[in-house]
Symmetry: D2
Subunit: 363 residues, 4 copies
Amino acid sequence: MWLYNRVNSLGKEEIIMVKVGIIGSTGYAGQELVRLLLGHGDVSIEWYGSRSYIDKKYSDVYGNMFQIVDQRCMDDNMEELADKVDVIFTATPQGLAASLVNENILSKTKLVDLSADFRIKDVATYEAWYNIEHKAPEFIKEAVYGLCEINREAIKGARIIANPGCYTTCSILSLYPLVKERLIDVDSIIVDAKSGTSGAGRGAKVANLYCEVNESIKAYGVTTHRHTPEIEEQLGYAYDGTPLTINFTPHLVPMNRGILITAYAGLTKECSYEDIKAVYDKYYENETFVRVLDKGVCPETRWVEGSNYVDVNFVIDPRTNRVVVMGAMDNLVKGAAGQAVQNMNLIMGLDETKGLMMPPLFP
Amino acid sequence: MWLYNRVNSLGKEEIIMVKVGIIGSTGYAGQELVRLLLGHGDVSIEWYGSRSYIDKKYSDVYGNMFQIVDQRCMDDNMEELADKVDVIFTATPQGLAASLVNENILSKTKLVDLSADFRIKDVATYEAWYNIEHKAPEFIKEAVYGLCEINREAIKGARIIANPGCYTTCSILSLYPLVKERLIDVDSIIVDAKSGTSGAGRGAKVANLYCEVNESIKAYGVTTHRHTPEIEEQLGYAYDGTPLTINFTPHLVPMNRGILITAYAGLTKECSYEDIKAVYDKYYENETFVRVLDKGVCPETRWVEGSNYVDVNFVIDPRTNRVVVMGAMDNLVKGAAGQAVQNMNLIMGLDETKGLMMPPLFP
Amino acid sequence: MWLYNRVNSLGKEEIIMVKVGIIGSTGYAGQELVRLLLGHGDVSIEWYGSRSYIDKKYSDVYGNMFQIVDQRCMDDNMEELADKVDVIFTATPQGLAASLVNENILSKTKLVDLSADFRIKDVATYEAWYNIEHKAPEFIKEAVYGLCEINREAIKGARIIANPGCYTTCSILSLYPLVKERLIDVDSIIVDAKSGTSGAGRGAKVANLYCEVNESIKAYGVTTHRHTPEIEEQLGYAYDGTPLTINFTPHLVPMNRGILITAYAGLTKECSYEDIKAVYDKYYENETFVRVLDKGVCPETRWVEGSNYVDVNFVIDPRTNRVVVMGAMDNLVKGAAGQAVQNMNLIMGLDETKGLMMPPLFP
Amino acid sequence: MWLYNRVNSLGKEEIIMVKVGIIGSTGYAGQELVRLLLGHGDVSIEWYGSRSYIDKKYSDVYGNMFQIVDQRCMDDNMEELADKVDVIFTATPQGLAASLVNENILSKTKLVDLSADFRIKDVATYEAWYNIEHKAPEFIKEAVYGLCEINREAIKGARIIANPGCYTTCSILSLYPLVKERLIDVDSIIVDAKSGTSGAGRGAKVANLYCEVNESIKAYGVTTHRHTPEIEEQLGYAYDGTPLTINFTPHLVPMNRGILITAYAGLTKECSYEDIKAVYDKYYENETFVRVLDKGVCPETRWVEGSNYVDVNFVIDPRTNRVVVMGAMDNLVKGAAGQAVQNMNLIMGLDETKGLMMPPLFP
């Protein structure tokens, strides 16, 4: 029932279905992936993986899927999955994807990994920040960092997509044009980030109980958050190829979805609003999912909820010669599942925006 | 970009587009209608009516529509609209639709009215509960009450659809099978309803400020809420044709979307779970948008958010010989805009579920 | 620093300090008890019991107490505690208080039990609804149900106070005058209750995570909630001495604190607003903590947050000859810790309102 | 009923009551002032000023005060008030206090102004940022900036107290020791601030409706917020007497109360945790209301709600040689009404902490 007809080059109607499997389908990102793929039109979900809920009905874990998903949860068998599907999504804890993947699997299927296992090129950096040994370093080199707006062409031919982190997607896309065009002093970059609570995952922890999160805000992982080296590496590629060094501070906000980043950096030269706006337009005016807002409008997470959009804008402060850059995004969509679908569309030769054009849900 | 090809009876591809106009497109229900129609596929919105924001860009009123809707808001000119569109939606304050409609308009177009103007057949009852004079009583008789699951056939041929109220849709669908099959004492019905705050509208009132609604719950309109006679009339048709008399108490809940009704009624005879389940299945097992949950599962508004589903279930209390019936729904979708689209699909001969099959958004 | 001088009967100044210990001081109710006792003025907390956090600094468990409480958490040693303190509070899971209490302890100290162990006089009823064996049935008879407004005199002389449940306190105080004066048909009573999430406790459960509770409302424990027999027994004493039979349905609301009950009952005779108001005034006009609101004003939980007040009001529905009764209360204060302090004041001969006169916190 | 006896120097009991009046008592800050003063013990509120609600019962405007405050709201007559009370609090829009005050009034009473009128010494700066003409510049010089921890002695003798802003109190107290001891490069200071919605006031604006604020976060007033020059001036006094220049960005958070500031600055020399901790202790270890948290603990607004505490802490980032400073506070208490009471205590010779020792309310 999620299908639409399409017409092929010969004018004949045909139904093209991409078969996919999800390992880790019962986390918040995994469930969002299910929601998006069900509405995609050209995709059939063959495997609802969830080690925690093996044999349990998926709709008993997520009541919203009652009478929509009839399947039961399956164990994490990537070998079997590789024979069944075109694309495997891993929405799993750090380290698992790397421990399961091998050449045989990659010879039969594509892997879109929503964890951090293949995001960082330098194994030592990965192991230092994540404090775990990398189980498949041999595949890191070929993995493509799946930030579609920046690595579009490379993604199309990849076997492994390292789907970017939530904070990192928002931070990189917000700052990329300024770094690329060398308009800001890269040693002065500070990113103050705020995230909704779904980013903390569905684990049963006292710290994430309703009464502990509600009516409060706090910073966490100050100077130590794992998304820091990922932002530093990717912005480094946009600059001189070597990682930058920045301050990154995440905060927990009492809301379900949404990430807002507020970034500060010194300008390398005097710039007018028009100068900087021109730079953002240069990189984004043809991008469907990055919306550079009108002058004076600040991004708000409510305007992107449930969608794949990233809203960005900036304000120049002549008093301090700094620029304040803001980006808003849904952490579960463009920050996870939506970007994963966008990557799948690219590697499977589908329209990049397929299944991702729903307008944001408000209120 | 919201279009998909379809194949007609001759095997030829064609694009069938329904032209619609919205009067009152900047209220919460109006904006939700815009969101749903943009994703529908066979609809083009020709008119974004909003007396409060004439000439203002629609996306300046609702930032989520930035780069999605380029049109500006228009005045409420139903005559002009009738020449332009196939269907007019009125998401306006009570009394406005009745004051604008006339035979000439209805001869050219269909009207789906989201206000209460054409819901109640007895003008005196309408005027008593709404405390306004009805401006077009001559059209009340032909108007069809647009509760699709119950009045499907009549809706298909109607010129005026009275789109049901939010509380009423949830209350009627939850109780209908029990009333229709005379399993409950209709004089004993009590409906205790809880609604998210979007139901209060977008008017700037102190009572609806964040700090006034957050961290609190209250009843309001006790014994006097306007949805009472609507429920009484419709359930009456399911019983003996005359309105019932019930208690209805709405409550304001600190959340954006969602309605939960908890209804109580005495059983007319001893019933087992299976007896009552069979009755619900009789009416709903072929209905896409009414989900009768598994035994012991209570409806929760989070499982229907953003979707057109109504989740219902019941518990028998042998100690009091009462049945407790629960229904959960998104007040802006099945309770307003979604049902309006469902009605449009029916009157235009489209698949009733077209544009409404998105799974609920969680969290 | 929490002390104030008082003047004794001889006109001499003296400091009277009540020594107390808390078993279960790290649950939400236990922590609220700590907050209230710290501000009381005549109380010194000698023992912060918490089996889960033995030897951990109390302020590491509850950061609000940093630099206010220096003590560490202690094990549950009621024997030792009995030698140290005048009053023991047990804010513990069902069954624990009954398993710890004995004659020796009661000969040295008073017990205010916030659990349900001594609330229900009929052991069979307790064991049926709580599904556990009662370990100290011999003390049930002497235990006094600590609903101060109703059992004030009996409380003063008690050794064991059964501190009422949250839902029950609000339900009983809201309905008591009508039942006592036989103005309502006791077989027709339906209580639809709504509670904030702190009522669910601080246990790490997925169902209570922020993202699971936020933006949703649901009923739970339908026809089976354990507070049902407690309400039925106490209202029964107000009527003819035998328990009533009612419908009670609790709901979980996305807010931290607060309980609202909406009760429905048939009137036994025609009553005017004045008739019923007079009955409420008869029982409550001299009560500090029960506020009968002005005509037409509905109780809201925001107006009692952080305080010991219960706000009640009613609306007569002449159409159905029912009365709709509403009560609002802070579940952690009058519904737990505040009432426990009120009981302590009574048994220790202090001013009943001592330490409880803070106005509600808003917003 | 809010009174406690005290013993004077002669050992005689006496009741000392400070008479106060509040102009602007129906805003959120004004109402919080009422709540705190009712619990103070030595204060009697003689005047509930509110131009918007003249003659209306105060408890009809704020239901929490039902049966606690019987008075009605009065007009803003500062002359009459000066004859009646010892202290006048003005919790009013910018410009009003300056337009009402004069020498005659100040000769009879003390003024604690919660608005910004007397906070900034340079009239031109005030008029530039607030865009209004200052009506009483002659009193700016003598006004004392009421940040008690820093200006304690000067406050005691003042006739006019300029009660600090909410963001400013939190920002200044968090950074003061580092600026005073010249441990940070004052040109590098960036303050990223987050506030609950009560800071936006009780005005009926669409932007502050529940559904507009809930489930979202945004920055506002970027580079232009009026608290910027106030922070710059006060931190300047701690440095070299001239205002600093900083970046300040406020954000709106979906919660009622609380401010969190996250500040970034470059260190002027290599510092260990102990070096910086020693500096914070030097200034705050004897301060009741500033709590320097344990190493590694991040301030959270939930731990200070309803109290006068400011929780501060810091993290050194050796990678960037910056220090990240965090401060959490209740914007309505230490950020407004609580600090106003603290100032009143100082100017009236009462214990500075009187009426402010309640522990924070959680959850």
